[in-house]
């Protein structure tokens, strides 16, 4: 094991609070033990933040869980050294582990949004940490809970403590979770993907919160697949791939001068202003360009004054109010906004899957939302959709083949042979092998599923595709491939995209024009450059400023 493989103390003195050497973790399978983490080593000092990055399945979470003795069922953990605060934890009893967890090592789980007991008030969850570690007095606990919640930036903590997770926003939930992790002033906080699934603005707040802990001398292990997040907080980075550490070193060094090819690909895959018009993934997707009749120029999809209200227990809730847009042929219109801002509702209105309360949608110059569904059915092949969650958009009983066949317009391909040929063509367009046809979507990887979803959308040969969070669930590298694929397809088929995402970088990367939504309203619109370079509306400005950037980009910006 070379010294370079583990991040040694960089200019820091003193004993590391966490010291790991030669960590291997395997899981017992029927076939035997399969290692998923190989030979991981690192040291972590007080007040230091170590980031572990890598794509999905690279062993980040397993490594993290091992640090608190919760690796998992049938886990086989081997390590040359596993020291916490100078003491070997390898032989720790269950009881000792329980005393350590929460009190000395705080842990923020990956699935933050579902990691709080949904039936209990969040205050009780934070309180539990205190109760488990010797805070006998109820009143003192309560007071401490309020103090903690306030400290992590929960406004009107007293009221919030009494609310359940489903009554809180993602950011507040994440903060409550962090509050419970730091409740007992642990020496180490392990934060597994603490900002995934958060809006940019909230993400920035959470990162600030962790930075604050760091300042107070807490050692932090930050796990993320998002390099831009890492760039903001970490002192050192550990890049993992396939369960191995492929590169490690100080953050700036790794991000600006990556040595390993994998790290480089990872960095290149992050979309944003720099990547506009460029490929994100190294290998070009295999696209069969298909000659196609030129679409008439001009507007393909046009909405004006859309309003949609939903009845709720509290009364009526306006999800979309006064939204207008027009999508031009062969172009991409991006819609960006935080969660709940009405993006998906706008998409459903555009697809005429739901009727607007006010306003109209025209498709290819003809009325679309105003006509009865029976008349629309015939024209639905003109506009396709790639839904937010690909998996749930497939009938679980159907194979990929059936899914795609079902989407073929009946008239175009009559014979089985023709249909077969069309399927092959579609698969080639989205870069999938033919052998996925027989498989169930469940058994496909996220990227494959998204490709199937795109293939289905392409099957009727539409002119407009509505993409609702088409890449949100994907890893950066997979996301890069899919974004490249979309771009290729647009070029080859002359498609028009209505592209919806909460990720500013992604929207910036793909869009010609951008709509920024907040609370159901469009607060800003214009060309991508205008919106992102010269934001007018305060909200947009806030969004853009909160946009995390890679250390490398930062450096460039500073240089400019």
């Amino acid at each position: 094991m070379s010294a370079a493989q583990h991040a040694g103390p960089t200019g820091r003195s003193g004993e590391p609070v966490l010291s790991v050497r030669g960590l291997h973790v395997g899981f017992a399978r029927r076939e035997g033990v399969r290692d998923v983490v190989h030979d991981v080593s690192f040291d972590l000092h007080p007040g230091e933040c170590l980031a572990v990055v890598g794509e999905s399945g690279s062993g980040k979470s397993v490594t993290a869980r091992t640090l608190v003795g919760l690796t998992g069922d049938g886990a086989l953990v081997r390590a040359e050294r596993l020291h916490f605060d100078g003491a070997d934890v390898r032989g720790l009893s269950a009881r000792d582990w329980r005393r350590t967890r929460g009190r000395r090592i705080g842990f923020v789980l990956q699935d933050a949004l579902v990691s709080l007991d949904p039936l209990r008030p969040v205050g009780a969850e934070v309180e539990e940490a205190l109760r488990l570690h010797g805070w006998r007095e109820r009143r003192a606990r309560r007071a401490k809970v309020l103090e903690l919640l306030t400290a992590v930036g929960v406004p009107s903590a007293r009221a919030r403590a009494r609310q359940r997770p489903d009554e809180l926003s993602g950011g507040l939930r994440q903060r409550a979770l962090i509050a419970s992790a730091i409740a007992l002033d642990p020496e180490v906080v392990v934060a597994d993907e603490p900002t995934t699934a958060l809006d940019v603005t909230v993400q920035a707040q959470v990162l600030d919160l962790l930075a604050e802990q760091k300042r107070r001398g807490v050692a932090i292990v930050l796990i993320s697949h998002d390099l831009s997040v890492v760039a903001r907080l970490a002192d050192r980075v550990l890049v993992m791939s396939g369960g191995r550490v492929v590169e490690s070193g100080p953050t700036r060094e790794v991000l600006t001068a990556p040595r390993h090819e994998y790290t480089r690909a990872l960095i290149a895959a992050v979309p944003g202003e720099h990547t506009r018009g460029e490929r994100l993934s190294p290998a070009p997707a295999a696209v069969l360009p298909r000659p196609r009749a030129e679409r008439p120029g001009g507007t393909v999809l046009e909405a004006s004054g859309l309003v949609k209200r939903y009845a709720t227990a509290e009364g009526s809730h306006t999800a979309v109010s006064g939204v207008s847009f027009s999508l031009r042929a062969g172009r991409t219109l991006g819609i960006v906004g935080e969660s709940g801002s009405g993006k998906s509702t706008t998409a459903r209105l555009a697809l005429a899957l739901t009727a607007p309360d006010e306003g109209v949608v025209n498709l290819l110059g003809r009325p679309w939302s105003q006509v009865p569904e029976a008349q629309r059915r015939e024209r639905r092949k003109e506009v396709s959709v790639v839904q937010q969650d690909p998996l749930s958009s497939f009938d679980p009983r159907w194979t990929v083949e059936r899914v795609l066949l079902d989407a073929l317009p009946p008239r175009r391909s009559r014979t089985a042979g023709e249909r077969r040929a069309r399927l092959r063509e579609l698969l080639a367009q989205v870069g999938l092998d033919e052998d996925v046809l027989a498989r169930f979507p469940l058994t496909l990887s996220g990227g494959q599923r998204q490709r199937v979803s795109i293939a289905r959308a392409l099957a009727p040969e539409p002119s407009v595709v509505v993409l609702d969070e088409a890449v949100s669930a994907l890893d950066v590298s997979v996301q890069a491939q899919v974004l490249d694929l979309l771009a290729d397809l647009q070029r080859a088929l002359g498609l028009s995209y209505l592209f919806i995402s909460h990720d500013l970088g992604v929207v910036y990367h793909v869009s010609d024009d951008v709509l920024v939504m907040k609370d159901g309203e469009v607060v800003e619109r214009g060309s991508a450059e205008d919106v992102f370079e010269r934001p007018q509306h305060p909200y947009t400005r806030e969004l853009v400023s909160a946009l995390p950037r890679l250390a490398g980009q930062r450096a460039e910006e500073e240089a400019r």
Partner: protein, 345 residues
């Protein structure tokens, strides 16, 4: 058998950035609206049950006056019109069906359930005096079932193949125990051999345990099956791991977090059990010699003592309505998320 998986919890929703602080007037209005609609629903159910009972009587074979007469006499023979005239006149059996139905309904509205054909007593009396023993029996049984089920599930669910398998097998086996068999066996063992309990339970407190157990054991198995599935599902939820990272122990997690998540199907089942008592209890009442609605119903049906039958049907419907309300209430307490929009299903 209510489906547990069907009552999907409200989808976790990050959209409400914070619960809006609502004005109390709106909440009051909403509550009032819900109460009124619940009441209307309850009335509809009662009306439906009363109508069903009436229709059932109308379709039953045989001349009602003859039956009443024959049962009073203990002889199954044909009667002459003269013999039946008095009874027909007394109960209005000669009237058109619609008249009888309206008469029946108007009686119900006045709270008059009529008089037993065989006991010559008001139905409200007959049922009233049997209601308490039945309720005591059922509620005790439900409580026992809960206790047993909770202990068993918490001890065995999700604890490795063998233990969990055993736990599930015991659930299934107990759920499949017929009441009358279990009842007799418990009686012979605990009352006759060991003399721990009286053989004839009557309505004594000491005599309550065995009959309640007889009802409780299969119910516990039944509830256990549903609870176990949910329990094992909940054990895999991230918040469990989250609690562990705070240093919580296994038992504490099972009791404080997981149990509550797994309890909902059992709550629903308890409500159902409260309503279904009548059918289950008759067996236990017979074996243990307890008074109760079950035996009243069986006797009444055998005697075609229709006012009592109708009375019991209405009572059960009312119990069902109450049980449902309670279940909703408890649902709301256990899972406050459902309280907002009302119980799905």
């Amino acid at each position: 058998m209510p489906a547990s998986s069907a009552d999907a919890p409200a989808q976790v929703d990050a959209r409400f950035s914070a619960a809006p602080l609502e004005d109390p007037g709106a909440r009051l209005r909403r509550t009032a609206r819900r109460v009124v609609s619940r009441l209307l629903g309850a009335l509809l159910v009662l009306w439906g049950a009363a109508t069903a009972a009436f229709l059932a009587q109308a379709v039953l074979p045989g001349d009602r006056a003859t039956i009443i007469f024959n049962i009073r006499a203990g002889q199954p023979i044909e009667r002459t019109p003269e013999e039946l005239a008095a009874i027909n006149a007394q109960y209005g059996f000669q009237d058109p069906v619609l008249t009888q139905y309206l008469h029946h309904l108007s009686g119900l509205v006045r709270g008059d359930l009529g008089e037993s054909y065989q006991q010559f007593r008001p139905v409200t009396d007959v049922i009233g005096e049997q209601l308490a023993p039945t309720l005591v029996l059922t509620l005790t049984a439900i409580a026992l079932a809960w206790a047993g089920m909770v202990v068993w599930v918490v001890l065995t669910a999700g604890r490795g193949r063998r233990t969990a398998g055993l736990g599930a097998a015991v659930d299934t086996a107990t759920a499949g125990l017929p009441h009358y068999w279990l009842g007799i066996v418990l009686l012979l063992v605990f009352a006759l051999q060991l003399r721990w309990f009286p053989v004839i339970s009557g309505n004594s407190p000491a005599g309550l345990l065995l009959p309640a157990l007889t009802l409780a054991v299969p119910l516990a198995g039944f509830m256990g099956q549903a609870t176990r599935t949910e329990f094992e599902r909940a054990l895999q939820q991230p918040f469990v791991l989250s609690a562990r990272t705070r240093g919580a122990g296994d038992l504490a997690i099972r009791l404080r977090h997981v149990l509550r998540h797994a309890a909902l199907p059992a709550v629903t089942l308890s409500g159902w059990a409260l309503g279904a008592t009548i059918s289950g209890a008759v067996v236990v009442e017979t074996v243990y010699t307890r008074a109760g609605i079950g035996r009243v119903l069986v006797t009444a049906v055998n005697n075609q003592d229709l006012p009592i039958v109708t009375g019991v049907v209405l009572l059960v419907a009312a119990l069902y309505v109450v049980a449902n309300l309670l279940v909703d209430l408890v649902h709301g307490l256990v899972d406050p998320r459902t309280a907002k929009g009302g119980r799905p299903s």
